[in-house]
Symmetry: C2
Subunit: 135 residues, 2 copies
């Protein structure tokens, strides 16, 4: 059997798959060195291996980087196949991070014009507050 060309195009390399699986299963954003420690048993031993996989996964839109936390979460928004327009809510107490998928919000931001009339299709928005549990 094997993997068809089309599937292969969309499939992940070994290290990418290992690291994506870990992030995807995690209920919270993971930091690069947390990932490293957790995949050493699978043979990924050095930072560049982790950072390279993270870079590719971000490019593909499979994961997102939470910039204010230097941490990574899996994309759970089927519409953002590419890492270009992201929004998150972050709880300042428990650090829970949730990806926001709001058609209204993405539409508003994609159509926003700055004072030079410039539009931006790429953005990252991080909201801070308290989650339900922590309120």
């Amino acid at each position: 059997m094997g993997i068809s060309k089309i599937d292969k195009m969309h499939s992940l390399s070994k290290n990418q798959q290992i690291i994506f699986d870990l992030i995807d299963k995690s209920p919270e954003p993971l930091k690069a060195y947390t990932i490293l420690f957790n995949v050493q048993k699978k043979g990924i031993k050095a930072p560049p291996q982790v950072y390279r996989a993270l870079d590719k996964l971000v490019e593909m839109g499979k994961i997102h980087k939470i910039e204010s936390r230097n941490a990574f979460i899996a994309c759970h928004n089927s519409s953002c196949q590419v890492a270009k327009a992201t929004a998150f809510s972050i709880c300042e107490i428990c650090e829970k991070v949730t990806e926001i998928s709001s058609a209204g919000l993405s539409k508003y931001l994609a159509n926003f014009k700055d004072k030079d009339g410039m539009k931006y299709s790429k953005y990252n928005l991080e909201f801070f507050g308290l989650c339900k549990k922590c309120r």
Copy 2:
């Protein structure tokens, strides 16, 4: 003469002033260690001195951190006296960063409700694209 109480309340400590002046005069965002190298002649010799001043200046809303760049710029938006609701455009070629002050945008974001009906008064938005010069 000297400084009145009211003025003093709003004034910066020595290190804060040195570091704020440097950032405020810079046409581009400055990184912590760039700041450190540039203020060593003024007696600020170690990272904690820089990071402490940066933290306070961010708290006060005098400067903002550009999270995706780990760099700091002076606030040029008289309405954001506190570092709680910020928006920037970032040129992906020349790395020019501009603070966006749009009443419409801040209103939209401050009133945005997530799917749980939650509102957020604190946020950071970074738009990416090409500036006028680089287009």
